[in-house]
Symmetry: C2
Subunit: 251 residues, 2 copies
């Protein structure tokens, strides 16, 4: 198994539990420090210094990541012992694979539109021609991690998107500004922004006691969404012990 | 690995491909011979010869099976390289886990209602108290099979439900007749029947060129549903070679 040990398990296990406020603060600090908004490639992108070829390489390689996200989330679904948890998590698979009943094309298809706008042949993108071995390695490791580590870690590994809204807002603005020929391919980012904003509005309305928060509220919202899956997992871990088998122990 | 070899791989691989009609006929013959409608326990059930205790044992043990179905289908989702295949297959997870937006409680919850109608404590059912070791073994092996064998076999293992409509129709009638005290708990079977009938009506309307078949049509229909996932798998197997990793080879 190629999964690297995080090496902090003992420290984490013996540390006292954080309060919600402390968890929130630590979470935000980690995101500020380590989310990919500081990556040199993204800084160049936002300064308008990338060539069309570099944007093509970015779109092509990230396609491999996009294409495995619903697979990753299906693995997590298959490890979730609680129907309520699965019901909330399922939304992520829908986000990427799309849904005919709501005319949602899904993130994978929208990413191909973006790749096409950079000038790539969509068939080549789908076939994965030219994707770097290092990209395949890193993305495949993500599948290994959500398969082989604890369910809590698998869920936590999916929460990076809590930091994405600010970055996507900036990115859409910068892409429009520096690469206007790409403007027709930004559906992927715009759909994500729209989703986040809708969820926030519902959450705000719900907090103010206005209107029906709707079913999407239970699915995700920055920070609120962090807490809910973690609480469900904790509850499920206690309730389901000995009921749903650990798949690694079945053979 | 406890998965038994089916021992017919060589014969199957060298046999000529069946036509659709031959496949359909062989499929139906296998179902007629091997589906669980001939099991002595079910024959006793339909003759009104089961005690309340025996019905309780049935409801409790089958609950374990019901509870893993969306896990089994999530494993299959995670092995499907094609978003269109996953979009169709996802419906099965929804069927069991439910969906707040369509007021669908899901099959697991409805099965608990049935168990409760036999006189069992729903908390005990959820906790799995008293489920037989042989039940756990058989159900866990189902998870092993869909994880470890080919995707085609995993999909094929899920098609037994193509034979369920006739049996459920009979069962609901017989349960009402012989165990009238159970009548309030039959939502599980009635929802399945209703779903099958609605899908058939849409398919018939579509064949006759009447109305919109709607998105459910692509999901499943007896025989039509057999063919579509198999065709998608064949297409995906050819198109995706070398693109989506075989998870067993990632480590």
């Amino acid at each position: 198994m190629a999964v690297r040990s995080v090496g902090t398990e003992t420290a984490a296990q013996s540390a006292p539990l954080l309060t919600l406020e402390e968890l929130r603060a630590q979470f935000q600090a980690t995101g500020e420090e380590r989310y990919h908004h500081k990556h040199p490639f993204h800084l160049l992108m936002h300064e308008g210094k990338l060539s069309r070829g570099q944007l093509q390489a970015w779109a092509l390689n990230r396609y491999y990541y996009q294409s495995i996200i619903p697979i990753k989330d299906s693995i997590i679904l298959s490890r979730g012992p609680d129907p309520v948890f699965r019901r909330a998590w399922r939304k992520r698979v829908v986000d990427h694979d799309g849904d005919a009943t709501t005319n949602n094309d899904g993130g994978i298809k929208r990413w191909i539109t973006l790749a096409e706008a950079t000038g790539l042949d969509p068939q080549m993108v789908r076939a994965g021609e030219g994707i770097l071995p290092a990209t395949r390695f890193a993305v495949n490791e993500y599948l290994n991690i959500v398969s082989s580590r604890t369910l809590l870690e698998a869920v936590a590994s999916s929460l990076t998107e809590l930091f994405s809204t600010k970055l996507i807002t900036l990115r859409v603005e910068k892409l429009r500004q520096h690469y206007p020929w790409l403007a027709g391919g930004l559906d992927y980012f715009e759909a994500r922004l729209c989703r986040e904003l809708c969820l926030r509005q519902r959450e705000d309305a719900s907090r103010a006691g206005v209107g029906d928060p709707g079913p999407a509220r239970q699915v995700r919202h920055p920070m609120g969404a962090t807490r809910r899956p973690l609480l469900r997992l904790r509850a499920a871990g206690m309730a389901a012990a000995g009921r749903i088998p650990d798949r690694r122990k079945l053979a």
